[in-house]
Symmetry: D2
Subunit: 206 residues, 4 copies
């Protein structure tokens, strides 16, 4: 297996070393206006999460892991991702802080999705095949909906799942805990906190 | 059937009246740099075609039919359609004249496709379902490749196919003729010239 | 909406009346050898469930609702459903009682699935389209895996979900409860017990 | 590339050597009642073809190449392949001779398809992935419809296409010739006659 878990001496019990080759970071619905009734509690979770995820993305992309934005098109079939980013980072957007912190760069990939799963009627399958991806790190909003649906579909495609627990938020803590438990128990995924994942440049054996 | 073909007295033998409701116009790979070895003959066909297709698109969209650009992403997973349009209409693009004439407006829809068929790993299925489309008018480049692949897939989905013969071009006249024959014989499509199609605003019976 | 929920005076608080037209009953992995380590507790739940589901199936099919077996092929790419039924009802199969009670008849439909969701790489989409289905009743094993994956995919396709709570079992009661909660909260499904569902022959307005 | 074409001295200009590992033989709609108006000419072509294909299949399966029947379900959603075989080989079936000659054995795989392409809403993708297939040999009926649609879809998935020209028949010779030309020119497939293909047991480099 490509994962290398080691017992270290100190406070950190284990780290999960992920090979750079064959791994992609999926950022799911993080460019988001979060404009729905009752979104306050989700926003209050998403804002600190977005800081951790921005750090994690920085570490991952620096190591050479491609970042793929898998993002709702908000029913805007005529607009492109640029316009979605502009809308979600605008003053009137409740999700502006989250969207700004995780704003994509010109090096990132993006896939607009019309439904909950990032694989449903999108080009994600073809993109991951092109990039020769066998492992996905799933992150984003909401853990028990779009993140879980995408993880389920990744699992059926034989991809290994990694879900940094502190880079995923849901409407309620209970929903989030259950989604993570489902990823761990059913999808055989790793749900360590983001700082437990390290990246190894050496070529993965596949 | 939603199609209404009438014998008229004058010079035009028949027209095919298409209901506006439930019909979409697909423009396949018309935003195209046509930058491949030996593209000269295709370009010489595509330029006059693009004029006819621009006219046809104007008539169709005026009647209320949505125009959907189903366009190659040219392997540019990081760019959006806007950038593809800029690239294909630039000075250095052999396809600039075609791409300029058929440049999308802000009212048009677009779907980026990674492979030949507009349905393969794209959101086209979901978009057409959202728009409640049951008939597609297929147009564009190349008739025997991306247009035919897309038409085949439309046919398997139970959509009715209309292929204005003079709004489709292929690398060779023979390839184009055979693609049209295949659309007519196998896919039960109509392949009349574009000026034989008219659009009816009254509600389609479906 | 096609669902008709009525407050009745007596002991039953509500019934959900489902139109026959447009509704299908999905029986997910109920023909199952249940031959995996630690399956005892699942079997002890599945056996009484299978009795309730057999009753429910009888009522539904009598009313005219098609029953669709959506069943694992157990990696047996060379065998057909008949052989799977024979295997799962044989003496050596821990799931024989469940499989026998729910043995398909010649009037039932079946779709062999290679993965968890009944929609993944199967003909289920085409079958449901052929039968003009807009509502699915999901039942079977295991609630938090194949039933939930299938329900998720049904939801993305715009189908209404009905999940008779007592006709679904999972490895643990907690997993089952959470799967039902997910179906109710995220997929907007009804999770009433099976005897609260009634079937109405009158044509559904759609 | 895995294909090894050699100039030989004698009468045979070239043979195409296919590695056994990673190659599958697809038999498309060869179990077929051919019961449609005007099928006589197709039958008169299909009968001698079925003899050549039976020989070719024997050689291929002996070498270790899996044979996959990709067959229409004839709208019989309730029946399995065994019943389709019984129907198509029965006395009243115009296609009985073809179907008998190509009757599947218990070692063959089968995938029931609801539409023209063997990949559309079927488990073929998953089966080929399970078998680690990167090359498909497409054979069967009709060349310009189900064989071509399946070959198109195989091509979009990155599979290499081999189409033994004398193991494919269409309604007319012209349709067949054009389908083969399309496979060769657009899908970059090999269309040599069946006796020009040989099979090599040594492991394919992929």
């Amino acid at each position: 297996m490509a994962v290398d878990s080691r017992q270290s001496k100190g406070r950190r019990a284990r780290t999960t070393e992920l090979p750079v080759t064959g791994t992609a970071l999926l950022l799911i619905d993080v460019v988001n206006d979060l404009a729905f009734g009752g979104s306050e509690s989700l926003i209050s979770e998403a804002e600190p999460m977005s800081k951790r995820l921005a750090d994690f993305k920085r570490r991952a992309t620096r190591a050479g892991i491609p970042a793929v934005y898998v993002n709702d098109n908000f029913g805007q079939w005529r607009s492109d991702f640029r316009r979605t980013v502009a809308h979600c980072t605008s003053r009137s957007s409740p999700g502006r802080l989250v969207s700004k912190r995780l704003r994509p760069t010109s090096k990132d990939y993006f896939v607009l999705k019309p439904k909950h799963s990032g694989f449903y009627d999108t080009t994600l399958d073809t993109l991951l095949a092109d990039l020769k991806i066998t492992r996905v790190i799933v992150t984003g909003i909401a853990g028990n909906i779009c993140v879980l649906f995408t993880a389920n579909d990744a699992y059926m495609r034989g991809l290994r799942i990694y879900a940094p627990a502190d880079c995923i938020v849901s409407n309620t803590a209970e929903d989030n805990a259950h989604a993570l438990r489902q990823i761990q128990a059913v999808l055989k995924g790793r749900i360590d906190p983001s700082d437990q994942f390290t990246f190894a440049r050496r070529r993965a054996r596949r």
